[in-house]
């Protein structure tokens, strides 16, 4: 009876957790290899991120894991009406994670996780056709999450923890489509801030009705990164009272790191484990990126993101004592709506294909490797809400975009 109630709770919750935008789903090599499922998969201390309720299910007294990824992601753009084209030359992104879990009793575990669930690293050629929207952006957020996990009933565990987020941003773009100084150099605004703190929380629930099925539920709250102490640098503006002065000034801006809701199920049959996760990211929080500068100018950038879903499938097979192989697939729905396709996060819907394995070096250590190939369809899109300084109507910037990302990762797992 009790089990049915818990199941009912799962079914009642119809909106769930995360995808797209500047979210980077690379919080575990083992789980990424399985399509980044994990809310109902107890594999390692990585569960701390996917579902804190699962921490108490880890067999070892002490478990730890750490790893990282190289994000090789680029975007090609062209507009055949005007004959403009560009391709990003983005530096490698390097999301990392580290988790540790300690089982105090059979029913109670504590843990600490550090991971980087949000980020963006996009570098277009300077002064390219869309440079009034972005030349270069580097966005990062480190989450630190202390966690408690408790076995509430035989089949139900819960877990929760506060999150401290440390955000940083570098963003550079031209002030308009054609504004220059007297020498014809494009007027430019660059903002930079780091060490911005934000706070949130996460909570999860895990339901294990029998040996084969595990159900998981996780919620991670919205965290607003409110930047107030950063520096904005205005350069190449003409010497005119009609335009902002060159030099450094302050700025304020708020970037939401949206809440995520996840439900999932896993099924274990002998050496095979299958998992399905459904995520919903509450991106609709991201309505507009508004910068207010200390010199009195402002930059209003409507975003109008929508909540977006991701559907994840993963499989794991213990080939032998040493080797476990994994594969997965996910469909990631973009939160970006038509007409709001800004080239700073040029993400449309994507298909993720994942592979990976773990190799047990000995009883305590294992090496985890994964590979994600993120495939985007070519898309004709535009951003229609940029208004040049002094102009009375907005202009549209768009064309054909094609993104692609290849993300290999490597990590290590330790169990005592």
């Amino acid at each position: 009876m009790n089990k049915l109630k818990v199941l009912a709770v799962f079914i009642l919750i119809s909106a769930f957790a995360y995808a797209g935008g500047y979210r980077v789903s690379t919080q575990s090599n083992r789980q990424l290899a399985m399509g980044h499922t994990g809310v109902a998969v107890v594999n390692s201390a990585d569960i701390l991120f996917f579902n804190p309720a699962g921490l108490v299910h880890l067999e070892s007294t002490f478990s730890a894991s750490a790893g990282g990824f190289g994000v090789f992601s680029n975007v090609a753009f062209q507009n055949s009406e005007f004959g403009t084209s560009s391709q990003t030359d983005s530096p490698m992104g390097t999301p990392v994670y580290a988790y540790a879990s300690y089982k105090i009793t059979d029913k109670f575990a504590v843990g600490l996780g550090i991971y980087t669930p949000f980020g963006s690293n996009v570098t277009w050629p300077t002064d390219w056709a869309g440079s009034h929207l972005v030349n270069e952006i580097e966005l990062s957020a480190i989450f630190i999450q202390p966690t408690l996990s408790y076995q509430l009933f035989d089949s139900v565990s819960i877990g929760a923890g506060p999150i401290i987020a440390i955000g940083g941003v570098q963003f550079n773009r031209n002030a308009g489509r054609s504004l220059t100084n007297e020498q014809g150099d494009r007027s430019n605004v660059a903002v930079e801030d780091s060490g911005v703190l934000g706070y949130g929380w996460t909570a999860g629930l895990m339901f294990t009705p029998n040996d084969r099925f595990t159900f998981g539920f996780n919620y991670r709250s919205l965290i607003n990164i409110e930047s107030t102490e950063g520096t904005a640098t205005f350069s190449n503006f003409p010497n005119s009272p009609l335009t902002p002065a060159n030099g450094e000034t302050s700025f304020t801006a708020t970037l939401p790191l949206p809440a995520e809701l996840t439900v999932g199920v896993s099924y274990k049959w002998d050496k095979l484990l299958l998992a399905f996760d459904y995520n919903r990211a509450l991106w609709s929080e991201y309505e507009s990126l508004d910068l207010t500068f200390g010199n009195g100018s402002t930059s209003i950038n409507p975003r109008n993101y929508k909540d977006a879903s991701t559907y994840r499938l993963g499989a794991q097979y213990e080939a032998n004592d040493k080797l476990t192989v994994r594969a997965g697939y996910y469909f990631d729905e973009s939160p970006v709506q038509s007409g709001f396709f800004a080239p700073e996060t040029p993400r449309n819907d994507s298909n993720g294909y994942t592979f990976g394995f773990s190799y047990n070096i000995n009883e305590k250590f294992a090496i985890d490797a994964s590979l994600l190939y993120l495939q985007f369809k070519e898309i004709n899109e535009s951003y229609d809400f940029f208004t040049d300084p002094g102009a009375t109507q907005p202009s549209s910037f768009g064309g054909t975009f094609k993104s692609q990302a290849l993300i290999p990762g490597i990590g290590i797992t330790y169990n005592m």
Binding site: F72, N74, V75, A76, Q78, N79, S80, E81, F82, G83, T84, S85, Q87, A129, R177, S178, L179, T180, E182, Q183, G184, P238, N239, S240, P241, L242, T243, A319, N320, K322, L323, V325, F355, G356, F357, Y359, A369, L371, Y373, F376, E378, T387, D388, A391, T392, Q393, P394, S395, S396, T400, K402, S403, Q404, L406, P408
Partner: protein
């Protein structure tokens, strides 16, 4: 067992290798064959003309605008359909002034500066000393033969680029003439282009217009050597010159485009200062009208009309009347009936068909005599011939312009060249404006986006619009598919307070 593991690892590594990291578009536009040149050959484009072809703007030729000349913009688009490199006789800097042997002979460009009164207006840029010396010849391997100031017959005039002939020679052509006695057209033809644009004849009416009609309408005079700089060129002289240029440029079988001459009423130089530019309140108007000279002049006109020396229409046209509100300005008109025998000067007030030159704004409403507060120009002191382009003068311009444009259209048809109706395109900019991605291009001074601060020449955005108009005509004539440019990506006027 170990072998088995290696297989998986090998598969994993292979998967990484197979997946390339560069995103590839299905139909990349930088691949050959996406844009067609039709029956034209854009491999070597040669542009011939005057200031409009050179990229001249804001009263000077300076680097930033020159790099956005309409031929340079077009060459950039032609590169998608077989076009090659495009070299211009670039000046050194963004100051824009010219030096001859280190001495400045032409002023720097205009920028929009905010004055002490808080109002923006044009001012000469002084943020940089000019460094372009005309004694430094850059005439090597050029594609752009646009010579600011050139009239139709100048392009074929030997010695037009000879520094020894200054001031009759042209300082811009001196910079790139292949030889002191070379002609512009011979140099351009020697470049052996596969495609050309020719846009010439604007100055043949424009200098007359901007001088307020001070020059002479030379229609009927077939010897341009006798013309003054502000005269209207005889249409037959124009036709003879231009047909010769077309022959020279097509001698090797090149295709090309001829661009016609826009209306002077399309440019802000003649549409910015209204003909009723004098605001008066009732008291001041009364004070002006109490001047016995005005009463005497008006009475004299009635007597002259009564005696049949002038029509009653002319008497009414010449009658001076200042009232409260916006007033037409007092002016001298050489075309009025000479009544000096009666002691009456050739005065009238401006009317709505007069065009006031942009440069008149500096004198209208000021005192002709600084010590005499009653000597207000436009009220008590008449505007001169150089300030006003009268209806008669406009008619002379229109007659010549119409003849030139007919010649150009016929030449284009006879030689299977694209004919570009710039006149209609610019008239549309001036009347309703032309919408683009992010705004509307108009000919309103400074704010309209189309015209630079000299009131005559386009901004880079205006040149981009011009390039699109020409591209359209070329595509239509030759079945090519050159892409247009996004004119919103090209700048309008430049603001700066680097003006001392």
């Amino acid at each position: 067992m170990k072998k088995f593991n290696l297989k998986y690892i090998a598969l994993f590594v292979a998967a990484i290798a197979v997946v390339s990291c560069d995103p590839e578009l299905e139909n990349p536009i930088d691949e050959a064959g996406v844009y067609s040149s039709g029956t034209a050959d854009f491999s070597k484009y040669v542009a011939v003309g005057n200031s409009l072809t050179s990229g001249y703007a804001d009263g000077a030729l300076y680097l930033d605008a020159q790099e956005k000349s309409f031929p340079a913009i077009m060459a950039g688009q032609m590169a998608f359909a077989g076009g090659g490199e495009f070299n211009q006789p670039l000046v050194n800097d963004n100051a824009g002034g010219l030096l001859a042997g280190g001495v400045q002979i032409l002023p720097n460009r205009f920028v929009l500066a905010v004055g002490a009164d808080g109002n923006p207006g044009p001012a000469v840029y002084t943020g940089q000393m000019p460094t372009t010396d005309i004694t430094n010849n850059v005439g090597e391997n050029l594609n752009n033969f646009g010579v600011p100031g050139a009239k139709s017959f100048h392009l074929g005039a030997p010695g037009y680029g000879n520094i020894a002939n200054l001031p009759a020679a042209n300082p811009y052509f001196i910079r790139f003439a292949s030889d002191p006695n070379a002609t512009v057209i011979a140099d351009a033809a020697a470049a052996n282009g596969t495609f050309f644009t020719l846009w010439i004849g604007n100055n043949d009416i424009l200098s007359f217009a901007t001088s307020g009609g001070v020059g002479v309408d030379q229609t009927g005079n077939l010897n341009p050597a006798t013309y003054g700089s502000n005269d209207i060129t005889d249409p037959n002289v124009f036709a003879g010159a231009v047909s010769g240029y077309v022959t020279a440029l097509t001698a090797n079988g090149a295709k090309g485009a001829l661009v016609n001459i826009p209306d002077v009423t399309s440019i802000p130089f003649f549409t910015t200062v209204p003909s009723n530019a004098i605001p008066l309140d009732a008291a001041t108007a009364g004070l002006v009208m109490s001047n016995p000279q005005i009463a005497g002049y008006n009475a004299g006109l009635q007597q002259a009309a009564g005696a049949g020396f002038i029509t009653s229409t002319e008497a009414a046209q010449r009658t001076i009347n200042f009232t409260a509100g916006q007033n037409f300005m007092l002016m001298e008109d050489e075309d009025l009936t000479d009544l000096s025998a009666l002691g009456l000067p050739n005065l009238r007030q401006t009317n709505s068909s007069d065009l006031i030159t942009f440069t008149s704004a500096a004198v209208i409403g000021t005192q002709a005599d600084p010590s005499n507060p009653l000597s207000i120009i436009g009220v008590a002191v008449p505007l001169g011939d150089e300030n006003v382009l009268t209806a008669n003068e406009q008619a002379a311009i229109t007659a010549a312009q119409t003849a030139y444009n007919t010649t150009l259209e016929n030449l284009a048809a006879a030689n299977d060249l694209a004919f570009v109706d710039a006149r209609t395109a610019l008239a549309q900019v001036a009347s309703t404006g032309v919408g683009f991605n992010g705004g509307t291009l108009t000919s309103t001074y400074a704010s309209g986006g189309g015209f630079s601060l000299d009131g005559v020449h386009p901004t880079p955005r205006g040149y981009a619009f011009t390039a699109n108009v020409i591209i359209d005509a070329i595509n239509e004539q030759y079945g090519s598919t050159l892409p247009r440019v996004d004119i919103g990506a090209y700048r309008s006027i430049q603001t700066s307070n680097d003006v001392n």
